[in-house]
């Protein structure tokens, strides 16, 4: 399956793009995806990473499905 991963703020700068497709094996969770991304972009390990699934904060154990939209970002700082 393929999921769409979007990156924001410092995470976007580290990855060097706003979004990309990631090919995953069936049954993989948000946590698995986070680990894959940290292997590929070791600098992400230095940050506190927040992750959303389909536009909402989600349980790291949530199983991913084809075409899900995941976003990876540092702690928010709006207002």
């Amino acid at each position: 399956m393929k999921v769409e991963v979007r990156f924001f703020a410092r995470c976007r700068e580290i990855v060097g793009e706003k979004q990309r497709e990631v090919e995953l094996e069936d049954g993989m969770t948000l946590k698995d995806l986070k680990e894959l991304l940290m292997q590929e972009y070791p600098e992400l390990k230095r940050l506190t990473l927040l992750i959303s699934l389909n536009h909402a904060y989600a349980d790291p154990e949530a199983t991913l499905n084809d075409k899900d939209e995941i976003a990876v970002f540092p702690p928010v700082s709006g207002g």
Partner: protein, 119 residues
């Protein structure tokens, strides 16, 4: 609401006024000119932020006795002194309006996917 353009707090207040409201509390966040700062870049994950803002407004209505609530946040590059965020809460009585307004800005800062970068 998320916008690229500036907003008028007066217009937002006028829109909120209605006979059932006896007090409107507003919070207006602006770009502070700390040393070395000339601009602030505001980045927003819009598809998620819109939903999170709606959630916050729903929660405020459940927790406090309020009649109306509005949140406006700007995105893009802002100069020192410009508006960043407005929160308005209208209620029958002031206490719940003050409490709800503080709750909303505190939670917005914790949860809504918005990032500010100084330039």
């Amino acid at each position: 609401m998320i916008t690229n353009e500036d907003f008028s707090i007066d217009t937002l207040v006028e829109k909120m006024k209605q006979p059932g409201i006896g007090g409107i509390v507003t919070f207006l966040g602006t770009v502070r000119g700390d040393a070395g700062i000339t601009t602030l870049n505001v980045e927003i994950y819009k598809a998620m932020a819109v939903g999170e803002l709606e959630k916050l407004k729903r929660e405020a209505r459940e927790k406090f006795e309020i009649e109306a609530v509005e949140i406006v946040h700007r995105e893009g590059e802002l100069n020192v002194g410009e508006n960043i965020v407005a929160i308005l809460v209208g209620a029958k009585h002031r206490k719940d309006a003050f409490r709800a307004c503080e709750y909303l800005i505190d939670e917005l800062k914790k949860r809504v996917p918005i990032w500010k970068k100084e330039g």
